[in-house]
Amino acid sequence: MSSSTNSPTHHTSTIGAIGAPSRRNTELALLVFAVAIPVFAYANVGLAISDQVPSGLLSYGLGLGLLAGVAHLAVRKFAPYADPLLLPLATLLNGLGLVVIWRLDQSKLLQSLPNFVTAAPRQLLYTALGIALFVVVLIFLKDHRVLQRYTYISMFSALVLLILPLVPGLGANIYGAKIWINIPGLGSLQPGEFAKIVLAVFFAGYLMVKRDALALASRRFMGLYLPRGRDLGPILVVWAISILILVFETDLGTSLLFFGMFVIMLYVATERTSWIVFGLLMSAAGAVGVASFEPHIQTRVQAWLNPMREYELSRQITHDGILHSDQLQQALWAFGSGGTLGSGWGQGHSDLIRFAANSDFVLATFGEELGLAGIMAILLIYGLIVERGVRTALAARDPFGKLLAIGLSGAFALQVFVVAGGVMGLIPLTGMTMPFLAYGGSSVLANWALIGILIRISDTARRPAPAPVSSPDAEMTQVVRPS
């Protein structure tokens, strides 16, 4: 795995691939760093809360380190040229998420809630499952182009995954958003998280075939390329589905995520700005239209526009039948009291958010205890993951891989935006979770699978071109190449 395996041997041009080394040792060093930071944070929380290094430090540190090590070895074995940053960045976020979940487990206030469970051991288990899924993806997905064969199967399974929460008896309505299913004995699952990946596969396969028609057959009008009426079909269908999600599952985030992902991929596939304009107009029209008659969305919008009123209503006994929640206002206060440098690990009061403090609102704890400086670092780490995804798309040689990488990283970015924006009061709050940080099995599993696919694509993209093999046929059929 040395860098010298690919030194160019032809002398005619300096331009061309400068040998891409495998960078596995860089990854290992970063990974050690990425495990050390959560261990430091963990010790920090223990010292702040109970004046002693927490007893579980060794087991959590070893657990996270072991998982990261397994993932690293799998990458070394099955994707040796993969991007060196994706794994450490994801590990760091996952580790920090574990620390915050453990820290919120220690809160007396949350412990007194009726539905309290110690979430940290479970999250560690989910992380282990997530890493296992990551390794499985690396082992069994030898070439991401295989996924292209399942374009329409993916569409079908994505639709099934999206419809599952609506099936009576299986779906669970948790605080208004119907994006969960209950599996007896296993707990609840958010199928939308997995649908995100499957849908990216479908969009990539579909757009790869159709992009020429979508890109070329168009009229120019006022500086925009307007697509033909019949080419609007696919975007209208996806739009309609996302509106249906909004109406029936009443979750703005899921709807926005899928439609946004489609528009991003459509734009990348066709290079036509008009799709973005159309997409923005359509999603705005759809959201406003649905919000005008769906009470749950209206509540969310009201809570977003005026969180303080919602806070006051939650303190009173109201008879309007709507569940008022002070969560958003508490989250905003948490961000505010964190200030620039934060209150320090374990010294904030973000547990006042109570329900979902460690899942949907996990960012508020970071905001309070690490302050603006910490939040910016966390968002930058998300940004770096997305950047590596886009870079992978740029480097990928096949159009399917390009579109898939863009779709996955676009969906990841949109999810971070939707959740962070919701918690910070930029957009109405949705029921999605922060990838890797938040407590929740589906989210951790799905996102590790997503990182696995990105690593697979980046391995294919960065792998040096194989040396020409001298096959016996080559002597019989001589190919004369120019230059």
Binding site: H11, I15, I18, P88, L92
Partner: protein, 179 residues
């Protein structure tokens, strides 16, 4: 736990977190691979010569900081004291651009993977190349361009050694080798 320790740990953690981000960005920086494209001064900068000078030195420093992979395979110590060290664009839209000569072949043309991407209506996509031959001479060779490559006033027909400070003309662009 004393207030001081907690404050130190709080700031220490933020520092470590940011250190990780910075290290990650450094890895990205060292990870940029693919085609090496020479940064060219834009038209706006050509209008402001005092700025383009600074740009030029910075760019040159960057070029020298990253030695091309073929260094050592050719040239080496064979070059004499009069050997040119850089190639300067003296006329045309790229005026002020310099490329350090370190034994690598330089391709000129409108193609995006050229070392110097010419933004010139009279240039072909793969117009010419400049390379170091066995004897340590820099040679220019026309790659079958439409409008031809001129050394001083004469159109090139064969690979020709380049004298110092003599302009090579491609369309409206002129290039010189300098010490």
């Amino acid at each position: 736990m004393s207030e001081l320790t907690l404050t130190v740990m709080r700031l220490g953690f933020l520092a470590v977190l940011w250190l990780f981000v910075i290290v990650a960005v450094q890895v990205i920086r060292s990870d940029l691979f693919g085609t090496r494209v020479t940064q060219r001064g834009s038209r706006r900068e050509a209008a402001r010569p005092q700025q383009s000078g600074r740009q030029q030195t910075r760019q040159q420093a960057r070029q020298q900081a990253a030695p091309p992979p073929q260094r050592g395979q050719q040239g080496g110590g064979r070059r004499g004291r009069n050997a040119p060290t850089k190639l300067v664009v003296t006329e045309g839209t790229l005026t002020g651009t310099t490329v350090a000569l370190q034994g690598q072949t330089i391709t000129l043309g409108r193609a995006h993977d050229s070392t110097i991407v010419l933004d010139d209506d009279y240039a072909s996509s793969r117009h010419a190349r400049i390379y170091l031959d066995q004897s340590g001479q820099w040679i220019i060779e026309d790659l079958g361009s439409t409008n031809g490559t001129y050394l001083d006033r004469s159109r090139l027909t064969t690979p020709t050694p380049i004298p110092l400070d003599k302009p090579i003309r491609i369309g409206k662009t002129a290039i010189e080798l300098r010490k």
